[in-house]
Amino acid sequence: MNNFSYQKVSETADALDQISKCNLTQIIAGGTNIIDLWKYNLIQPKLLIDINGIEKFKRIQQTEDGGLFLGALATNSDTAYHMEVEKNYPLLSRAILAGASAQIRNSATNGGNILQRTRCYYFYDAASPCNKRKPGSGCPAKNGLNRMHAIVGTSEDCIAVFPSDMCVALAALEAVVHVVSSVGKREIKFSAFHRLPGNTPEIDNNLQPNEIITGISLPPEGFAENYSYLKLRDRNSYAFALVSVATGMKLENGLIQKIRIVLGGIAHKPWRVPEAEDFLIGKNPTAVNFASAAELILKDAKGFGDNDFKIELSKRAIVRNCIMAIHPETLRPGAQPSL
């Protein structure tokens, strides 16, 4: 662990000014990820800029188009329990509440959640090689312990997964990430926010080093009638997903009119395959049809030994979660199987 300086700011401009000066200056929001990474000596910040003084980033408010804007500094708890979120975006509420613990969600912020780093054991062990932490040092996970690791979208250099639950729902809801830098504002579609590792696994996402997240906007469609989040893990709660699935569905006359299926815990980003969703349009919401969609979603899946089981587990989780989405009244706390 290294020593660092600390500064609290209350204006966006001051935060932008500081982060553009030195790449060892980092933002701290809830602190639940960055403090942990620092304690393991995985990052060595020189200066932490505490942005919790920027009050406007804490807001959750309706947008002009009938959607909802979630401030970057709104906590995960405040977001999950926000009246509008519970009513119109229950899928998001469920996914957030399936992550971490109540204490962590009280500190964790929306901006910090989408920027959290992988939980790969080798990434987390400063003594071990890891291309994500130390580019060019190698990836021990490929031939090592890889029970938690990716089965799709992997590269020669990295098979780490992105661990967020909230982001699986945000991908299903087609959220937009709002960022600001000294040159202006920018909006990033959620599907383009996180990235695959390729040969630069040290880069998790497309946020630029001089940018700050101001918030996340949700479109009006929240799939509030038919939705479900299922999280499968080594214990019932307070563990990262081995596989998770977010389903948002619109039914018309008993047939699927629109559907979003996104998987967590299996790739370097929330995993969505639009062809599988298109395949389901106009079809009956049956286990057989969902199973066909699952085959499409996992068609390029590849195991690395310990995580081979995740391929079949993902397919079954998709079917089960889509069935659960037909009956959201059965959903249980902790995103456990309900049907």
């Binding site: 662990m1 020593n3 600390y6 609290k8 602190g31 620092w38 393991y40 613990s101 500190s107």
Partner: protein, 173 residues
């Protein structure tokens, strides 16, 4: 070891000044001088000498360090003391009313809700905040809402029993 000492040497150019942090802990206003990287947990234990709050993992994985900060249960190991300037904090030392134990403390004794007791301060602070949140009604919901507090002695069933008793009685202020 060697790597660590090099890190520290490299840091000599740092301005290692302490910051003044004001905390109201269990009703007492304290003014601390802490270095930026001191966690709220270390500040509570080492600077305020309130050692009831426990350090289990120091990485957010056990819940032993749970305190109530401005009404919310949080992990004091994953927050910096400087970030909590001017906050109001309740630790296990502030739960009882003088010598009169809090109803939940009594319920823990009645239900044998601990063995070694290491997780207990965190469990009690967490449960009191959870009851005030009012989000958990069924046993299943309470278990889910308390999952951030691990008990290595496996007293969980009795812990949940104690919490349910207090919830049903409604006397958790």
């Amino acid at each position: 070891m060697k790597a660590e000492s090099t890190d520290r040497e490299n840091n000599n150019d740092f301005n290692l000044t302490t910051s003044q942090v004001k905390l109201k802990i269990n009703g007492n206003c304290l003014q601390l001088n802490v270095l930026p990287w001191v966690s709220l947990l270390d500040a509570i234990r080492d600077h305020c000498n309130l050692t009831g709050t426990k350090k289990g993992c120091d990485h957010g994985q056990c819940g032993a360090c749970t305190v109530i900060c401005d009404g919310n249960r949080i992990l004091s190991c994953l927050t910096l003391a400087v970030m909590k300037n001017k906050s109001e904090i309740t630790t296990i030392e502030g739960i009882a009313d003088g010598d009169e134990l809090h109803p939940l403390q009594k319920a823990f004794i009645k239900h044998d809700a601990f063995q070694c007791g290491y997780c207990t301060p965190g469990q009690i602070c967490s449960a009191i905040a959870m009851l005030k949140e009012g989000k958990a009604n069924t046993r299943e919901e309470i278990k889910e809402q308390m999952s951030g507090n691990l008990c290595r002695c496996g007293a969980n069933t009795n812990i949940i029993d104690a919490i349910i008793e207090i919830k049903n009685k409604g006397n958790y202020e």
